[in-house]
Symmetry: C2
Subunit: 304 residues, 2 copies
Amino acid sequence: MADFDLHILGCGSALPTTRHLATSQVINLRDKLYMIDCGEGTQVQMRLARIKFSRLNHIFISHLHGDHCFGLPGLISTLGMLGRRGPLFIYSHREMEDYLQPVLARFCMGLPFEVVFNAVDTGKHALIMEDRSLRVYSIPLKHRIPTCGFLFEEKAQEDHLIREMADFYRIPVSLRRGIKQGDDYITPEGEVVPHTRLTRPAKPPRRYAYCSDTAFSPDITSIIKGVDLLYHEATFAEADIARARQTAHSTAAQAASIARQAEVKRLVIGHFSARYDDDSILKLEADNVFPGTILAKEGLVLPV
Amino acid sequence: MADFDLHILGCGSALPTTRHLATSQVINLRDKLYMIDCGEGTQVQMRLARIKFSRLNHIFISHLHGDHCFGLPGLISTLGMLGRRGPLFIYSHREMEDYLQPVLARFCMGLPFEVVFNAVDTGKHALIMEDRSLRVYSIPLKHRIPTCGFLFEEKAQEDHLIREMADFYRIPVSLRRGIKQGDDYITPEGEVVPHTRLTRPAKPPRRYAYCSDTAFSPDITSIIKGVDLLYHEATFAEADIARARQTAHSTAAQAASIARQAEVKRLVIGHFSARYDDDSILKLEADNVFPGTILAKEGLVLPV
């Protein structure tokens, strides 16, 4: 398990099957959890994946179709029964609050924590959340109703101070933080020891992009350029491209084309239509355009 | 598979576990389906149990706690996507409509069928539904909010006409229906052949009672007297009887005591608390009072 992982909890589309569940994912960044979408059954999938409910503070919902949010009432009820105290932040189209507040008022009276709704303008690419570990940006998508994806961008970490160098120069503890952040060290004798000799560079910040549900939309490639991992919906095979257009979804080849244009490092496809008994046709078609495409699967964990 | 079966889709209580799902059951009476409660995940359980969505026309909801009804929006959406045309009847406390209508209006616009709400007075034992195959009665239960159980009573079937007797007496086809329903046959010579010589009696009508969620409530024994199968909640073990009282639930021994007092033929217990890693303690405690108690389990099918 790396320190920045994507957990796939559900990667089917709206119709339930015995193979896939409705959409939900959890990002685990150094034990802080961020959920993306919350279809029916998400809380049970969290249990199966041994994901700790208490570490989840932020939920991002791409759009108000049931297969992306019907798990919220049950999950929030459960968090209440587990005695949660801290606020739970939900980021989504403003209508989420109109839907969810009456349901919570009816079924979750006396909830011991606050649900804080943050309205997202799904038509804009903008910073929508920032904490000590990461920044999250919206990605405008093209679907039948207002929809956005999410770009998770790890914040740059401090460089690592080389223990042997710190000991050799007897660098005071009070100066070490500054050196990790880029300072040189000046010895009591006035010798300048450059930052680069004292430290090992931190890993470059990693980025994960989630794009579901969406029609083929090359406009997003500039936003997701070069991300370490892209999840892109691939509801249909190429034979059903007319149906994809009609329903504002993508084919596997279109998902791969976006990945290639955006020069992403890895692509994982999901949101598979119930019509395919075997998803390998989708992998085949994506691989032709973006070799090494990964098929999402319930329970799959991918390092970002 | 008999012609009157109970399918257990979920038999856990509110907190999700990896062992049990939220409450739902389906009664299959000669290929007509009747659902009782619809917790989150019910539609996926239906798929796993290979239950045909198109044969479901009636849904009975015991009470408005999320673990008994949060699966309704997803199930109804799915029925719409599958192109259902006929009305879907929901029987429940009148507040169900207040909850569900706004959700359907938001998420299921253009639903190709009607959802018909039938308000049930949960405080009364009354006939709430009748069709050609059965009658369904409410059973007032004691819980934290208005709650009722349901008694499914098969209608008496016609006696079976004995083919050899019908041929021997050359009974006209036009008279056979009447004979199955109790008529004697009078030959052209005026001989009276009694009904009992011409027919084999139909099986006695079978009855199934569902009682969940409820505190220990001996008042119900007269209603469920002698049923062929009783599902009674058994959320807690005897060691947690204080918690059972506090939350208006039953222990396994209390469920068994109701079964014994009501002289039911078989008892199946469910709605197990998440606190028990192993439900066998509940079976043990129930067996002491009502030997042969059955533990509910997802996927279990019981003939009524």
